[in-house]
């Protein structure tokens, strides 16, 4: 059975936007998607561990924006509470990750992930 026919809400209509100021929800989603894609590109292109970390933050922020936009469009605060949890995890991750980078720098004198190749076959 066609899965789209099982959900009556999935009729091909544009989602009604009740966001403040009449800004369409898709605009937020497209912007968040652009930020996420740039973060992915940075992870793939750059080899500096610090910049790669910044790109992870970029991706987390893009996810946060979709959470807030959907939560506003759905008249629910649950998504915004999850944004808090994402921020907490990001803060803890940055603290531990930067400590690891400092340790790697002390041991290998580099922050470039290509030069940390002890496990390379």
């Amino acid at each position: 059975m066609n899965p789209e026919a099982m959900i009556p809400a999935l009729a091909p209509v544009a989602p009604v936007s009740n966001l403040p100021g009449g800004v369409p929800l898709e605009w937020y989603l497209i912007f968040a998607g652009a930020l996420f894609v740039i973060g992915v590109a940075g992870m793939l292109v750059r080899r500096n561990a610090l910049v790669m970390f910044m790109c992870i933050e970029l991706m987390l922020n893009a996810a946060n924006l979709t959470l807030v936009a959907f939560s506003r469009a759905l008249n629910s605060l649950d998504g915004q509470v999850f944004v808090f949890f994402v921020m907490v995890v990001a803060a803890a991750e940055v603290a531990v990750g930067l400590a690891i980078i400092i340790n790697v720098f002390r041991a290998r004198e580099t922050v470039y992930v290509d030069e940390v190749n002890l496990l390379k076959g």
Partner: protein
């Protein structure tokens, strides 16, 4: 579709956010990358204001643009790293492949938005009720009732983060002691052993004075 003032604000914020994100990836110097990332974060805070979430906007500025980016710049300063290295063909191939993969991902995400979709069941927190109770208060109510257990778990995550960062970044004194203390006497022992044949007839007193204190740590190690 009529163009409203919030739409204009959105476009300005979106353009500055995307430019900031692009410059994070394109800039060579990690400090410049970090500063562009702050612009991106502030643009996101502006979006939160547009979405009637002013408390989240404040938290975004304080936590992300403030605390996390200060941490980043401190580490960059601490490590004093040089600019990114260009290693020729491999670097170009990685760059082309990386951007190609990112474009493919972008097209997939765009198709997801363009397909027909609709929102799920709506909640009860309308803009009017949010204006009555206030944004921070509404989030606090939700955080301390419905999401109390995840909130407590959040405290544990932060504690683990603090302890992990301190343990990892601390200079371990026992490691430094084991690395430096045996190394110094062994070097002098090797130097005296190599220099010993030359001054045999000249200074016999010096070699006998040096050798006991240099060979002592080697015996204990």
């Amino acid at each position: 579709m009529t163009l409203t003032v919030p739409m204009v604000f959105f476009v300005v914020l979106a353009v500055s956010g995307v430019i900031g994100a692009l410059m994070v990836v394109l800039q060579r110097n990690p400090v410049v990358s970090a500063l562009w990332l702050v612009l991106s974060f502030i643009a996101l805070a502006g979006m939160y204001v547009l979405l009637a979430a002013p408390f989240l906007a404040a938290v975004q500025v304080v936590v992300y643009a403030g605390a996390i980016m200060v941490l980043f710049t401190f580490v960059i300063m601490l490590l004093n790293i040089r600019h990114d290295i260009d290693d020729g063909l491999r670097h170009v191939a990685r760059r082309v492949l990386g951007w190609a993969f990112a474009l493919a991902l972008a097209s997939v995400l765009y198709q997801m938005v363009r397909r027909p979709w609709a929102l799920g069941p709506a909640g009860t927190t309308t803009l009017e009720s949010l204006q009555k109770t206030g944004h921070a208060e509404s989030i606090g109510l939700s955080l301390y009732t419905t999401y109390l257990f995840p909130f407590e778990a959040t405290g544990l995550i932060l504690l683990v983060g603090i302890i992990g960062a301190v343990v990892l970044a601390k200079r371990r004194s026992d490691l430094i002691a084991s690395r430096t203390v045996p190394a110094a006497p062994r070097a002098t022992a090797g130097m005296t052993a190599g220099a010993r044949p030359a001054p045999v007839s000249g200074e016999p007193m010096k070699t006998t004075a040096v050798s006991p204190e240099t060979q002592e740590p080697e015996a204990t190690a």
